[in-house]
């Protein structure tokens, strides 16, 4: 039997775990937060875990031999194990970064450091040269596009991309023309941060591996919203952020297949990540420490582990079912309004928990302002995916995105607030 959305009682209980959800905005309107794709709110257990770390355990982990340092290191490494388990991985395959953007930059810089012959890498998998190609898609968040553009500029490799269809899905018909023996990396998103498009990861990984390319997955919009298992997906490297999944700001994750991480050159260098240092040169610590230069983000990691435990207790299959229900309600409600165009796949099975739309003749900034006036908080603009908007021939869009704590009533609140737009902007609305 498939999982069910949260009941009203369950919803009310879980919302009580998030203190911010009870505040009001813009002159007394209850907060209707539909921007969890940008960042999620944090349950009390996460805030408590982070606070407890600072109050009881605070120490520079992996340094010193005193009791606090021991306990801090233990808390940090236990957090790593919990966070790894959450995506079906082992602890030594998880690297902490400041955010997903840094995790993707880590990989991109590993390639150029490899090309420069340095950085403690092994083998030639992470060497990129003119003639090599990096493949991305037109629907990527800038975080999974700009680092690859810069990598190509530094190494002389060529950037190619998979276009999107007008429906906002990857155009895989011509994948063979851009995914070739020259492709060394294929970096793509699991779920589009704008359209919610759920990409066929298994198929893409298989195609990447068939030509010997590494598959790098941006999982920022999937790990918080649906069950994710790295072994099942078959990807080689995967990046996601903590703050979008009820965790604190300032912590992201890079997961990688252990043998790959072992071969991969380092990115940020300095303390904590070394094995030996002399004035002439250095050797580096084993994975994952070799990728964690400087005093690590221990309190944030502990907070993120608490978030993983919280989500596990909710059940990721139920979180997914709940957001599917909300997506369906939103897409149906918007579809009933002739003056609104829903962007992205028509088939709900191809969608995650984000719905972007356009109102003919009214700029998303204005739509967002009208919603905000009623306490409905959505994202407007290009959502760090400018090329995707160009491909869809819209300058920008309005996006509602969900989390486990979002309710059907909040979807309805958006629709109700949206209905003020036609009159305010003088749109012709058929009766």
């Amino acid at each position: 039997m498939s999982a069910a959305p949260f009941t009203d009682e369950e919803s009310a209980r879980l919302r009580a775990d998030f203190p911010i959800l009870s505040r009001t905005v813009r002159g007394g309107h209850p907060l209707v937060y539909l921007d969890s794709g940008a960042t999620s709110h944090k349950p009390t257990v996460v805030l408590d875990a982070e606070r407890r770390f600072y109050e009881h355990t605070n120490a520079a982990v992996h340094r010193g031999a005193h009791q606090l340092s021991e306990e801090g290191t233990d808390a940090y490494e236990s957090a790593r194990a919990t966070i790894a388990r959450f995506v079906g991985a082992s602890a030594d395959e998880v690297v902490f970064t400041r955010n997903a953007t840094e995790a993707l930059n880590l990989v991109a810089y590993a390639f150029s450091n490899g090309a420069a012959g340095g950085g403690g890498g092994r083998g030639d998998r992470f060497c990129l040269a003119p003639g090599d190609e990096v493949l991305v898609t037109e629907m990527e968040h800038h975080a999974n596009l700009v680092p690859w553009q810069e990598l190509c500029r530094r190494t002389g490799a060529t950037l190619r991309w998979v276009p999107v269809t007008p429906e906002g899905k990857l155009d895989l018909e011509h994948l063979d023309s851009v995914l070739t023996e020259r492709t060394k990396v294929f970096a793509f998103t699991h779920v589009s941060n704008v359209l919610g498009t759920l990409n066929p990861v298994h198929e893409l990984v298989e195609r990447a591996h068939a030509v010997g390319a590494l598959a790098v997955l941006d999982a920022c919009q999937s790990v918080p919203h649906l069950p994710v298992d790295v072994r099942d997906l078959g990807v080689d490297l995967m990046a996601y952020s903590g703050h979008k999944m009820f965790g604190p700001l300032g912590v992201g994750v890079l997961w990688g297949r252990p043998e790959l991480l072992d071969e991969m050159p380092v990115f940020l260098t300095g303390g904590s990540m070394i094995e030996t240092v002399t004035m002439e040169g250095s050797t580096y610590a084993p994975v994952p420490q070799k990728f964690e230069a400087g005093v690590p983000v221990a309190a944030q990691a502990v907070g993120l582990a608490a978030a993983c435990d919280y989500l596990t207790a909710l059940g990721m299959d139920r979180v997914h079912a709940h957001e599917q229900m909300l997506t369906e309600r939103m897409v149906r409600g918007l579809g009933e309004r002739s003056w609104v165009t829903v962007l992205g796949p028509a088939d709900l099975r191809d969608r995650g928990g984000a719905v972007a739309f356009a109102v003919e003749g009214v700029h998303p900034h204005d739509v967002g302002q009208v919603l905000d006036d009623r306490g409905v908080e959505v994202r407007v603009g290009h959502h760090c995916a400018w090329p995707l908007h160009r491909a869809l021939r819209v300058p920008a869009s309005t996006r509602a995105s969900f989390a486990a704590y979002t309710t059907p009533a909040e979807v309805d609140a958006l629709l109700e607030a949206l209905d003020r737009v036609p009159a305010l902007f003088g749109l012709e609305v058929p009766a």
């Binding site: 700029h363 204005d366 302002q369 290009h382 300058p395 305010l424 902007f425 003088g426």
Partner: protein
């Protein structure tokens, strides 16, 4: 909502002096990277120095009601006036928009610009209202340089 004054929506739907025209001595393209709004604006001057006259302001504005209305109001207010008048108008607009709502704006100085006073209370929208003014001051600087 007091942000969307009738006057703003009028300028949005029927922007004054819209479109790019020749001749011009200065042109500037400005982008708001957070939302992708863009404006290209041209300035045509007659005469030199502070007494030079802004003979034409033409523009192509793609953006929200606030940014389009602001470009329209700009063109209306500065066209036909002197360069020094245009600069005074800009200073008065900027002062109002960055006042966080303290400065209601002086209709004598900025005309229909007072309708944008509500924008100052929404920090995320101030840039929308200032985008075309950034293009104007840049284009004006180029136009003055071209005369030397």
């Amino acid at each position: 909502m007091d942000l969307y004054q009738e006057l703003i929506l009028d300028h949005y739907k029927n922007p004054v002096r819209a479109g790019l025209r020749d001749p011009f001595e200065g042109q500037s393209h400005q982008v708001n990277p957070t939302c992708g709004d863009e404006v290209t604006l041209r300035v045509h001057l007659v005469g030199t120095g502070a007494d030079a006259v802004v003979e034409d302001v033409s523009y192509d504005s793609m953006g929200c009601s606030i940014s389009v209305a602001s470009a329209s109001i700009l063109a209306e207010e500065v066209t036909g006036g002197t360069v020094s008048h245009a600069r005074e108008t800009y200073e008065a607009m900027r002062a109002m928009l960055t006042s966080k709502g303290e400065d209601p704006g002086d209709e004598e100085a900025i005309g229909d610009g007072v309708a944008l006073a509500g924008v100052a209370k929404y920090p995320a929208r101030v840039k929308c209202a200032l985008l075309s003014w950034a293009a104007f001051t840049d284009a004006l600087y180029q136009a003055e340089g071209a005369q030397k």
